[in-house]
Amino acid sequence: MISSNKIIISTTLFRPEEIQIKAALLRRGFNVDVCLTRQGISWEKLMANLPAIVLMRNLSHREALNNSAMYTAAGPLVINSHASIQICTNKVLQSVELQRVNVPIIDYRVAFNSDDIRNAVETLGYPFVIKPISASWGRGIARILNSEALETWFAARESVDASEKSYPLLVQRYIEKSDFDIRVVVIGDIPVVAFKRNSAHWKTNTHLNGKVEPIAITDEFKEIAKNVTRKIGKGFYGIDLIEDPNTGKIFFCEVNHNPEFAKSSAIHGVDIAECIADYVYEIAVEGIQSTKSEIRPSLALV
């Protein structure tokens, strides 16, 4: 039985973001339950009183993938969809899928072993960037400036992964950027706010103390948001972009399925939790069709 008024927030920790979202949903008359995976989910109880919508806010990628698959199989509408979470948690899939819909991705190669990285350098040149397929907050990302740095990276890698089990990796051309990147927060398929994250470091995550500066939402940002969501489905996303200071060209860096907003919201003033609640309310009224994606559905657990 599906209760049309009931929403589950699936999460790992109940952070300020989830607290704000819950409050905003309650104000719209929803009956909201919070499911913390680590505390266990009573599946029997869940199946006896299924929610209409499950909002995925799991901090853990593994939980987000597994729980979204299970909730989808059980019947409720899941936001963001399991298919979109699969893409968002895999940097290679993002590049492969989004280059097909004219999103300005950065030139990349997929390395299945160390030889592939050496081969990639021949066409990408130095500097270039090595990224784990699934990692957050800038962890494990290395900018390789020259052949000496690459040999050092290989040596360090070999000491912990001699059999190269941690491959494949994403190898990307390094885009010279100013001291900022751009975060565009998208709800549905529309950007609701854009801001620069300023930092002297070449990685500019707010988690790494990037400073937030609101900027105008351009037509280019709207177009990128439209193309990304056309591919992975409407939902709630943080799209990261970088600008080449020499050409002004905007490049797509990545799309996040579980963007944090508590720190940045306080600065740019857009109440993201209210925007999410409005979006969920619209979907609850309109029905489930609006979140369809072009991604082939897969319910495989990880």
Partner: protein
């Protein structure tokens, strides 16, 4: 308002039925993060989990 104590430095931490299970509270004394593990019958805190490998945006 009732209080409990930080599990590390014993500084008093205000408790309230308004908190949710799973919510993270920081100690005003030492900054240690705690997770609210029970609200209903009695208010209980546990040390918040450390950052895990697959956590993030």
């Amino acid at each position: 308002m009732e209080k409990t104590n930080c599990l590390v430095c014993a500084e008093a931490i205000s408790t309230s039925k308004e908190y949710f299970t799973g919510e993270i509270l920081s100690c005003g004394g030492c900054g240690q993060e705690h997770e609210v593990v029970q609200v209903a019958s009695s208010f209980q805190l546990a040390l918040a989990p450390e950052l895990e490998e697959d956590w993030g945006e």
